[in-house]
């Protein structure tokens, strides 16, 4: 039998060439169709090739662990780790992570204490990181020995826990929001720039009590050719005080509010600077409120006409989204409004 490659004459019955080792007869069932790459793998492989080519790391392997006993064990531990430390507690290994747990608790409480601030957000991010570390510390770190899978597991888990925190905040603090005020009201110990906590559910009653600090969308007021004009669009929500209720007659005379001819307490219902230059008398329409807020208007409001003022201060009830119940920031003034 002659070898097709080297022409060596082999003994009959030989399956491979004695000289060069080539197969003398093709197997009956030989698969001649090569394996093909799935389209979705192309960009992943390109990135890995680029990393190999640029970093010189010869065999960078970031493989998704194949499902198996080990994976399920990891997965079970991760599910339990939704509550940080629970998996360790059940395995009686809590001591391993007690300091991490304590740090996580402190960070979480710190982030709640400084809710709605950038520091609070930073602490929440650190809490997510520690939560992830506690979770991977249970089984992932032990089971996955290689750097690549470990890194992949940590990043994946951190994203999941980040989503979990965001969801929890959305569910449990769904009724609560924050807003900043430009008003200074001595009665409430509120000053311009303070941050107040407000609840959406408290804004449902109608009419809202006089003096309520509410979160509302206000119309923008601009100055054009030396005269203040209502611009028309809505600015970001801000904390305003309700002065006049639907159907009442409101007057501003000599820097004080009058409702149906009755003088309002200036400690509790101060007139903002920009409204003190004018005397106003208005009948508040049904389903609307007259609210007080400070605007930064040049020349102390000179040039403002009554139409512009009313367009800014008369707001419809649907523009009020929440009612403030607590001074939140600065921390030193924290307390309930009434």
């Amino acid at each position: 039998m002659r070898c097709p490659r080297c022409e060596f004459e082999n003994m009959p019955g030989q399956t491979k060439c004695f000289k060069c080792g080539s197969v003398l007869e093709g197997p009956k069932e030989i698969n001649v169709h090569p394996p093909r790459m799935a389209g979705w793998k192309r960009p992943i492989r390109s990135v890995r090739r680029w990393i190999r080519g640029t970093t010189g790391i010869p065999n960078l392997k970031i493989e998704i662990p194949t499902p198996g006993k080990r994976t399920f064990k990891c997965f079970g531990g991760l599910i339990l780790s939704i509550v940080p430390g629970l998996a360790h507690l059940l395995d009686r290994r809590f001591k391993e992570i007690r300091w991490y747990f304590l740090a996580w608790l402190i960070l979480l409480l710190g982030s709640l204490f400084l809710y709605a601030t950038t520091t609070g957000l930073l602490l929440a991010g650190l809490a997510v990181g520690l939560h992830t570390w506690i979770a991977v510390h249970h089984t992932v770190i032990r089971e996955l020995k290689e750097f690549g899978p470990r890194l992949f597991a940590m990043i994946f888990l951190m994203i999941l826990i980040g989503i979990l925190y965001w969801s929890v905040q959305r569910v449990f603090l769904a009724d609560i929001t924050t807003g900043y005020t430009t008003l200074t009201i001595p009665y409430y110990n509120v000053e311009s720039g303070d941050c107040l906590l407000a609840r959406y559910s408290h804004a449902q009653e109608h009419p809202l009590p006089r003096g309520s600090l509410t979160l509302a969308r206000m119309r923008s007021v601009g100055v054009y050719q030396g005269r203040a004009r209502e611009v028309g669009g809505f600015g970001p929500p801000m904390i305003v005080q309700i002065i006049g209720l639907p159907g009442e007659k409101l007057e501003i005379i000599e820097g004080t509010f009058f409702i149906d001819g009755q003088l309002l307490d200036t400690e509790r219902y101060p007139v903002p600077q920009w409204l003190r230059t004018r005397e106003i008398s208005v009948k508040i329409p049904e389903d609307s409120y007259f609210v007080s807020t400070e605007y930064n208007v040049d020349r102390r409001g000179r040039g403002l006409d009554e139409r512009t003022i009313l367009a800014a201060c008369l707001i419809r009830s649907e523009d009020i989204s929440a009612r403030a119940f607590m001074r939140w920031l600065p921390v030193g003034k924290r307390g309930f409004l009434e």
Partner: protein
């Protein structure tokens, strides 16, 4: 018989064995020629299929195994190419060409240590072919070693009746290294030997475009004429008309 004498391009009647009624016999040789034709037209997917069909007819055709691996490499499927080389190596153990194409697959997949190892292995065998030298050149080019050009010259010197293909492959390698002038010398020979190869015209067009020669457009249009609706050639033609960033910046 000259291998390229059996190539068919469009209107030319296919040569080779003929059955009753004048139809060509669809044996392994026929599909091998078809695969080569598609490869020279730059259609690597169809070339791969034809190599598979050639192997369906006769699983011991070595050129078809190598061709499959090369097409997988051209299509960017390097891991599959490596797997398939291993499969071919079971049938043709320690074959230098298979070791060489595996080195190329490793090299393109940025696994340079393995590429060097396989290239060393292939070059140490007896009766090494032009493909082994070209693979060696590619691996050395990645390491920016000037000796790579000697490997290309060696491959061209032993090209024999496959000279146009060797020159085409050499030119593609040189273009990777941005040696456009040297590549164009080879490509001019290739388009004379294979005037109906869209791939050769396309590569020549790219080369001329890189050198800023005005005939690049006509060359690329020629490749499009030979293979209409070829997206790569269309993209190259668009790029050729547009010019580079600086030429666009300072264009009046």
């Amino acid at each position: 018989m000259d291998r390229f004498s059996q190539l068919e391009f469009g209107e030319t009647k296919p040569k080779g064995k003929r059955g009753q009624g004048g139809e060509p016999v669809r044996d392994a040789d026929y599909f091998g020629r078809e695969a080569l034709r598609y490869w020279l037209a730059g259609d690597f997917e169809l070339a791969l299929r034809n190599y598979s069909r050639a192997l369906e007819k006769n699983s011991m055709v070595f050129d078809a195994w190598v061709g499959q691996v090369l097409m997988l490499i051209e299509l960017g499927e390097y891991r599959e190419a490596m797997v398939w080389t291993d499969k071919a190596l079971e049938l043709f153990p320690e074959h230098p060409e298979l070791l060489a194409v595996k080195a190329v697959a490793f090299c393109r997949d940025a696994k340079f240590e393995e590429a060097i190892a396989y290239s060393d292995n292939s070059i140490s065998k007896e009766n090494i072919t032009w493909r082994v030298w070209l693979a060696r050149a590619e691996v050395l080019l990645k390491q920016k070693r000037s000796v790579a050009e000697n490997c290309i010259s060696k491959a061209v010197s032993i090209g024999g009746n496959m000279m146009p293909v060797v020159k085409l492959e050499s030119a593609r390698l040189l273009m990777e290294r941005r040696s456009y002038s040297a590549a164009m010398g080879y490509l001019n020979d290739v388009v004379q030997a294979l005037p109906k190869s869209a791939l050769a015209w396309y590569e020549l067009g790219l080369c001329q475009s890189a050198l800023g020669l005005p005939e690049a457009r006509a060359t690329l249009e020629q490749s499009l004429e030979l293979r209409p609706h070829w997206e790569m050639a269309k993209a190259a033609l668009r790029k050729c008309g547009r010019g580079g960033l600086f030429s666009r910046l300072f264009k009046g």
